[in-house]
Symmetry: C2
Subunit: 298 residues, 2 copies
């Protein structure tokens, strides 16, 4: 058995910690967490972590190192850890955007060291170690990134590791990854934030008490728009070219929608409203969502 080092112990870092412990995959799980508040929570929850004060402290003793911090923190931490990194270290991260972060990693990671990036498609609108769950990765996809600094043997190890986390794995280039997730994840989050903001703007202007009537649709968006702001700022900034293209496509379609409404174009609007219906059943069939009306809420 080997030791594992988790850097950043929020929702996903603490979920990894719980799962690794449950599956007995490590002799010791070292955790570096910069937030004192989170360290107190980890201790109070009695999570099975050996907390270290500096990220570089446990590198020599660890085989697998997993970055679970916001992406803007990678550089600073890498520079601190570089002196202790060895080519045998299996290093990965769980960031949601890849091209830009891998550029930063390439630039700052010591020569001869490998970095094989991961992206588990798991998360929630709540954050912090108290919300982590050992089964959060179960039946979810985990994308493994073939990049300039990735290593075939390490990717093979990570594939097996993520399967033990409960995930299905697939390999992708950073470019393909960032394009796909700009549409399936980054744009939906941005749109949700934007919708909630528009509702707030309207509420301020009209002085209407809107939120009590949010069960008609808005509430669904408010969930996603409650996601962690630091994480999402980093994603939007890092994947800005793809996200910006996605916004343009979205606005183009929205203008066409508006035109159909204002001109009461029956056949065009019915085409829009029926084509999209098929997507839900596909998503259910692919087991990407619960097969219950209203997400089984009511």
């Amino acid at each position: 058995m080997t030791n594992i080092l988790i850097i950043g112990c929020g929702l996903l870092g603490s979920s990894l910690l719980r799962r690794i412990h449950k599956k007995r995959l490590a002799s010791k799980i070292f955790v570096y967490e910069k937030s004192k508040k989170n360290i107190l929570k980890i201790k109070k929850l009695k999570l099975p972590a050996t907390i270290i004060k500096k990220p570089e402290d446990a590198v020599a003793k660890s085989k697998l190192i997993i970055f679970c911090t916001p992406m803007n923190e990678y550089k600073k931490i890498i520079l601190k850890m570089n002196q202790n990194f060895h080519s045998k270290h299996i290093i990965t991260d769980i960031g949601s955007s890849k091209c830009k972060s891998l550029e930063v990693i390439n630039k700052n990671l010591k020569k001869g060291i490998f970095w094989s990036s991961s992206h588990p498609i798991a998360g929630s609108e709540v954050s912090g170690p108290e919300n982590g769950k050992q089964n959060i990765f179960e039946d979810k996809w985990c994308i493994l990134i073939k990049g300039k600094r990735s290593n075939r043997t390490h990717l093979k190890f990570l594939k097996s590791f993520w399967r033990k986390m409960g995930s299905k794995t697939v390999e992708m280039s950073p470019d393909k990854h960032d394009k796909i997730f700009s549409i399936t994840s980054h744009l939906p989050h941005l749109i949700a934030y934007n919708l909630v903001q528009s509702a707030q703007d309207f509420e301020k202007k009209q002085k209407y008490d809107l939120l009590k009537y949010s069960a008609g649709g808005l509430r669904d968006f408010s969930r996603i728009a409650a996601s962690n702001e630091i994480m999402w700022r980093d994603i939007f900034f890092d994947n800005k070219t793809n996200v910006s293209k996605a916004i343009n496509l979205f606005i183009k379609n929205l203008k066409s929608f508006k035109k159909d409404i204002l001109s009461k174009n029956n056949s065009s609007i019915l085409k829009k409203l029926t084509q999209t219906k098929k997507v839900r059943s596909k998503i259910i069939k692919l087991k990407q969502d619960i097969n219950k009306p209203n997400f089984g809420r009511d």
Copy 2:
């Protein structure tokens, strides 16, 4: 005990039928449904309905008449029923948009007849009588509309009726109703349809298999975008002025979002991403959504 006539027996019509029967609020519940497929379903489900062949057939025997059809069908049915309507009939509908439909009602409803409109904020992405539930209105708001043809005594009766359906009631003008729901319901649905369509456009162009990665956000939108197309066409067309204004506000905010991303405006984007977070907790506090991460799905 009185007789009730339900016109249109889809998701909400059949939910009313179930609830009225369960609470023993009517001696007989007449149901007019134009779809033969739905009539077969109603019979197969053994729903407690007396099915009538023409909407006008049971008017004389009914005290309360509830329109549950798509809004574009009101006119045709009213013209058929006019000869049998009496000023004592309590007539309501459950349409999601009010100004335009009340205009049509005013224009076509026989003089001296009252119409006191309702809007229960309940629904689902699934439709049809097989998906109705007697508790679908429970703890939901029902908006009662004070309009040109509404009647104080009838509104009082309807207030009590909707409370028996499990709802909380509030009175509103048609204008205020249509403004509020353009933001809390109509825009969110339109945005969801538009997002799913944009994902489909992207998928076609890039030939990527997107939907299997929809758990990262898109899946939430696909639920709403699976809603009934006829109902939503009618809502968008009927409330087109408010919906169009809502689209404009949304695009304005989206362009500002894009600008912040492209210019990496840290303070401005963090302001956007934190302000919206508060909305979720307000919605939970107002009991408009389930208090579980991920809607309790995973």
